[in-house]
């Protein structure tokens, strides 16, 4: 599914509930569903906080990638030069971290010491186990997060 946002932060809960419903129906583990809901929430909050000109999108897809069941979450938004620069910096730090959980703990420990903590992005790797990549094209930032998932076995498969 692809959802567009235009300063509609009130839609966040509806989107979150939809992700819970879809994952609960199709995935094998409640824990995986919780991890993906955390990830979607963090990405949505970043879209609402940092999107410029009201144009932002979120895609959520459960698919087969190289024959493996995979979740793919993508966001796309336009942002100011300052926010793009901060996002690049935090994404590079998160993607290159050899131990994302340690980075997450370090950022929590310094909470309140800076504006825009970057905690949400680090959490995608540290807590939700997602691999991250990103592209900046002019003033548009596209983030992609993905990981393998275990589909729920349907009655007819047993």
């Amino acid at each position: 599914m692809t959802l567009g946002f235009r300063n509609r932060d009130c839609l966040m809960r509806s989107v979150r509930n939809l992700v819970v419903d879809v994952c609960s129906e199709l995935l094998d583990s409640l824990d995986t569903t919780q991890q993906l809901v955390v990830a979607v929430q963090e990405l949505l909050e970043n879209l609402v906080k940092y999107s410029e000109y009201g144009a932002a999108e979120l895609d959520f897809e459960l698919c087969l990638l190289d024959g493996q069941p995979t979740v793919r979450i993508g966001t796309s938004n336009r942002a100011s030069e300052r926010h793009l620069s901060e996002a690049r910096c935090m994404l590079d730090r998160t993607i290159s971290a050899s131990d994302p959980l340690e980075l997450f703990h370090a950022l929590v420990a310094t909470s309140g010491e800076r504006k825009g903590s970057g905690l949400g992005l680090v959490r995608l790797r540290a807590e939700s186990g997602l691999a991250l990549s990103y592209v900046v094209d002019d003033d548009r930032l596209r983030i992609e997060a993905s990981r393998r998932v275990q589909p729920r076995r349907m009655e007819m498969d047993r």
Partner: protein
């Protein structure tokens, strides 16, 4: 001094003094819209603790279904302040075993001070 609880539709708190302890039940979802209510609640809690002889604060998060990063930051700041102002205080998080994210997320707060913060 009374503690001003939050009574929102999406997020609420219920505080109860119990001897030398304070039990705070957090219920609902902490997202970017409810995080400011948590921040205000923690500010009020800090002021109340100055006049109450409370040594242990228990946060019962059994009915808390989501905590986004802004609320993690608010709790981290509050714990650091508590540790500095009332080093003898203890904070305990009572988690829901069916919500595995709680232990993962709260572990980062325990690491702020293992002497002060425990997770059950």
């Amino acid at each position: 001094m009374t503690i001003a609880d939050v009574s929102g539709e999406v997020f609420s708190t219920r505080s109860e003094l119990d001897g030398s302890g304070l039990r705070v039940k957090l219920t609902g979802c902490l997202d970017m819209e409810t995080a400011p209510a948590l921040e205000r609640f923690l500010g009020g809690l800090s002021r109340a603790l100055e006049s109450l002889s409370v040594r242990e604060i228990e946060f019962d998060v059994d009915g808390l279904y989501l905590m986004s990063s802004s609320s993690i930051s608010h709790l981290a700041v509050w714990i650091k302040r508590l540790k500095a102002q009332a080093p003898a205080s203890r904070v305990r998080f009572k988690t829901n075993p069916n919500l595995a994210w709680q232990r993962r997320t709260l572990d980062s707060l325990r690491r702020l001070s293992e002497r002060v913060v425990t997770i059950d």
